[in-house]
Symmetry: C2
Subunit: 603 residues, 2 copies
């Protein structure tokens, strides 16, 4: 087994050779930074992840959080690891100096976080949820809310959660029932149940800051009547320290197939166990405007979804490196044409089918990592590019790519985990090797933070058509640009042609779907569209990588093996994967109604 979590060479390739992260240091916000400070942050992340997060990944899985009716217990290594994370200021890696942060570009911060997700996705969830929570409050909270809640979160003294789903309303937020009653002092009291709340209860920190979606009685029905509230586990005293217990009570833990290190909870708000201030209900405060809660939440959705996607990528990446190591060291069998059993066995990696499974993993995980860091770069551009045009284009492209950045790794890096198991044979199916846990952990990702089906509807029903298809057209121009560059090298010209055709096919398909003139019909196969679109996007990302690699080879920059590997993985994706889009497009263009016509009674 290898202790390597991620290929640093690959990461450097993406960050510096492809995304030109160094150029960000020219912007005022990042003026104190340099490639050296980036490297230092990455080195630190790798070492904290390796030393504190990876060692208890299996132990967390085997000893999931327990609840004795009063208190949740986690293995002590989780607290130790999170303390190490907080001590090196990674909680505020991307945040302003004003909040004690490092003011790193998100591109670099996400690259740092990648190590933690690879090392221990369960433990890493606590700080990442907290960061998401803090970012939402930074965007929509009052200065007082920021001082009260964000500062202790970014200092790592408190953690945060996101409370959206309810037992009767998972994907359909429109149907949440948690009630927020206003009080004369401007505060609210919450009553209701929230389901699937990660990090909802623990003793890791002295307080937990819940962000809760709820409805104020009299608000419009559906999503237009949802408001956002901040609701701490312990009320905050005037001096900023945690005081009286609020009426947010753990009703139970969910016991999952994987991702077991992360406490996942059902929380009751205002059930009456505590009566803060002698009154019923969990004390909460409105964040932003009333009835605009979902819009606030969506504001953070892009980053949250990229975060989930990156988690899926890193589980895939970690499994890829494990299976590569195994394939290099395990002797098994001989080449098909060699019938001499007296010859020694060859390592697994010598077999074409094993190499197919390794190449597929490489194509999936390196493609998806690049896409996710590209999206982080778009966030940086959206927030800090000097030109308004660059900022708005970055936002546009980000909106379009987010469903892919979330869903594609959730599907294909999970498939990578399955291939990693397969390469290990029977050993991969045992708990003595890490790959089976990656596979179980990763199966969560197509479900939470918007299921696959929801991402498909978001992409086809909204993103590709919003602003008259502006984002879609922008992606088309980006694809054209890289195709033009790629056309000048013998190594990439065929890829450029294939991508151009695929992009044209995707455009035609979108048009035909909307020509149906019936929304139910247009969206019936939105999940297939999501898969198709995702493959086109990843082909584009691979072409970007291939162009850089081909140029490096042409320039004789050395490291030939590394760049050849990039071209070969690109070749794999273009030959084995991209052609799948032909069939998906044909199906979509036919406006097939097999699923719509199917009747309940026919099953």
């Amino acid at each position: 087994m290898t202790s390597k979590l991620l290929s640093r060479r690959d990461l450097d390739f993406v960050l510096y050779e492809l995304l030109d992260a160094q150029a960000l240091t020219a912007r005022p916000r990042f003026a104190d930074h340099s490639r050296d400070t980036f490297e230092a942050a990455l080195d630190l992340s790798e070492s904290v992840a390796t030393d504190f997060f990876a060692p208890h990944n299996r132990k967390s899985d085997e000893n999931e959080p327990t609840f004795d009716g009063d208190k949740v217990t986690l293995i002590p290594e989780v607290g130790t690891a999170l303390k190490a994370f907080v001590d090196v200021v990674l909680m505020a890696a991307e945040h302003d100096y004003e909040y004690g942060g490092m003011q790193l570009p998100l591109t670099i911060a996400k690259a740092c976080f990648a190590y933690f997700k690879a090392a221990n996705v369960g433990t890493a969830a606590y700080p990442f949820l907290t960061i998401g929570n803090a970012n939402l409050l930074l965007e929509h909270g009052t200065p007082e809310q920021i001082d009260t809640y964000v500062r202790p979160m970014l200092a790592g003294r408190w953690f945060g959660t996101m409370c959206l789903s309810e037992p009767q309303a998972g994907s359909s937020l429109s149907d949440i029932r948690t009630r927020a009653e206003s009080r004369p002092d401007g505060s609210y009291r919450l009553f209701g149940n929230k389901m699937w709340i990660s990090g909802g209860e623990h003793d890791l920190t002295e307080n937990i800051v819940h962000l809760v979606l709820a409805k104020i009685p009299g608000s419009p029905p559906g999503v237009k009547g949802i408001s956002l509230f901040v609701c701490p586990k312990r009320l905050v005293k005037a001096d900023g320290s945690p005081g009286e217990r609020n009426d947010v009570v753990l009703a139970g833990l969910n016991h999952k197939m994987g991702y077991r290190g992360t406490t996942n909870t059902l929380l009751n708000f205002g059930e009456g166990k505590f009566r803060p201030g002698g009154e019923a209900g969990a004390v909460a405060y409105l964040v932003g405007e009333a009835n605009r809660g979902l819009a606030c939440m969506f504001h953070m959705m892009n980053e949250a979804r990229i975060g989930v996607g990156l988690g899926a990528v890193m589980l895939g990446y970690a499994g890829y490196l494990q299976s590569l190591d195994y394939a290099r060291h395990r002797p098994q069998g001989r080449h098909p044409a060699n019938k001499n059993p007296a010859d020694p066995q060859v390592p697994l990696i010598e077999h074409a089918d094993i190499r197919r499974m390794l190449l597929a993993q490489k194509a999936y995980v390196e493609g998806a990592l690049t896409l996710n860091l590209y999206c982080a770069r778009l966030v940086d551009d959206q927030k800090t590019a000097p030109e308004e045009g660059v900022r708005s284009e970055a936002g546009l492209l980000l909106d379009l790519l987010t469903p892919i950045a979330k869903s594609w790794p959730s599907q294909w890096c999970l498939e990578a985990n399955s291939l990693a198991i397969q390469i290990h044979g029977g050993y991969g199916y045992t708990r003595d090797y890490p790959v089976e846990q990656y596979y179980r952990d990763n199966r969560l990702n197509p479900i939470h933070e918007g299921t696959h089906g929801i991402q498909g509807l978001d992409l086809l029903g909204r993103k590709v058509v919003q602003q008259g298809g502006a984002a879609f057209k922008l992606l088309g121009r980006e694809i054209e640009k890289i195709c033009k560059e790629a056309a000048s090298s013998r190594d990439t010209v065929m890829f450029a042609r294939a991508l151009g055709e695929a992009a044209a096919r995707a455009g035609l398909t979108t048009d035909k779907l909307y020509a149906a003139g019936n929304l139910d019909k247009t969206l019936a196969n939105a999940s297939v569209y999501l898969e198709m679109f995702g493959h086109v996007v990843i082909a584009w990302i691979w072409l970007k990588q291939a162009v850089v690699a081909a140029k490096a080879l042409a320039d004789g920059k050395g490291e030939e093996a590394f760049y050849r590997g990039k071209l070969q993985a690109a070749g794999f994706f273009f030959r084995y994967e991209l052609p799948k889009t032909v069939q998906w497009c044909e199906l979509l263009q036919s406006l097939d109604t097999t699923t719509l016509d199917m009747k309940d009674a026919w099953f």
Copy 2:
């Protein structure tokens, strides 16, 4: 949650409307049987599986077998369930009256077993391994070996195992090292280690009969020097009862991701813990001829592989029924075109994407069940058809279809399990619902009993070309036959055309692969070939079902919903799945060398 394990209506459709199982009662071997006796066996199986196997499926998963260094402990429900199975003579369902059997056709026996696999694949493994062991001894053992070992196994007093793999030799049996030293009395002494031995140790029965592959010193290297031995845990006394402990010792249990109810072991033979007869080595007896062990083993491989395939099918089937039940009862969201949040939520099954996931599962699991029972029917024909031509053709087709019957369900019914989880949303990821266990259990199936990669090599490297491609041509004629029938109905004519084209493409692809004139190149993408071929086979199986359904509808036989469902699932397979073969064939025909050209250093 539903307690339904399998749709009896569907099973009846396959057995009687498609496979004409009743016709088997005309053969002398099955003369005592009738549809009534078949029904009785199926009813009995359903009730024993439901009452004794299903209830502890989750408990077995949560309480896997333990080993205290001396003794293996299983939860008591396993023993109770197996006693119930044995008491109703299911252990010998397919066997001769002479051995206390029911002499049921294998088609019916496998349908009976399907219930147990759906109910509890971990507990069901013990008798099914025993049956496989017994069948091998019945075929190759001496009358004395049959009396000594087979009778107590079929009576359920002893269980059996298959000991092939070793820690250093998984897929490559050529490299096993277990040594069999001959003794003057004609017996042998075994020395070596066997890995992945299911049912290798337990206290469920008073004895365990191991069938072991080993090498006699001086034998040829490789597979031509492998012999088969029977080696009981306890030596058998003259009166047939178990006596002195043999030197087969449990070295450790494997701890798996799923399939946890089945003890999986590393066994040491002849390590010296016991000295039977005062001498070193585990006492064993040659089965069949020396150096012909692998041939003996392969003789049983078809049935063992169909058995594994059927296990994969039934895990998929059970998950399908669970997700169907969930989708019918869980309200969530509204149709895309309905923007009124005041309207009540609709059940999940109303959503097109949920129906897509249900239809996909239906297409996978009903297709695969039909294929596996079709293969069982071929075994019946091979053994009992009155005409020699029918017998030999059945054997030929069976050889060709076996890699598909094993691998296709292992891949696609696992995918069905993933879809079943997805339909359940977050709940599906918890251990409160059964689908996550099915997914973990099913992940074993692409690994054991010949990995996916091995099945691909078996199919492309051997089965499609053996006897001048006779089996392949036979399948072609079968496909032509059903296409002709299908052409006469409006419901099926398009499917017939698509299948005809796909079959022609598969033939052309095979030719082009062999035209490479280089075995390594021909076989480089054998796994892709396996997938492609599998989809063609399942399309053929679906066309068979569609033809029966279309005819039933045309004849106004009633049960319109059932038959419409069959046609719709067939339509799903032909529209969503079969077109994938176009891209796979193109890749194969290009004799792509991406994987062969990839170098270790490039990863």
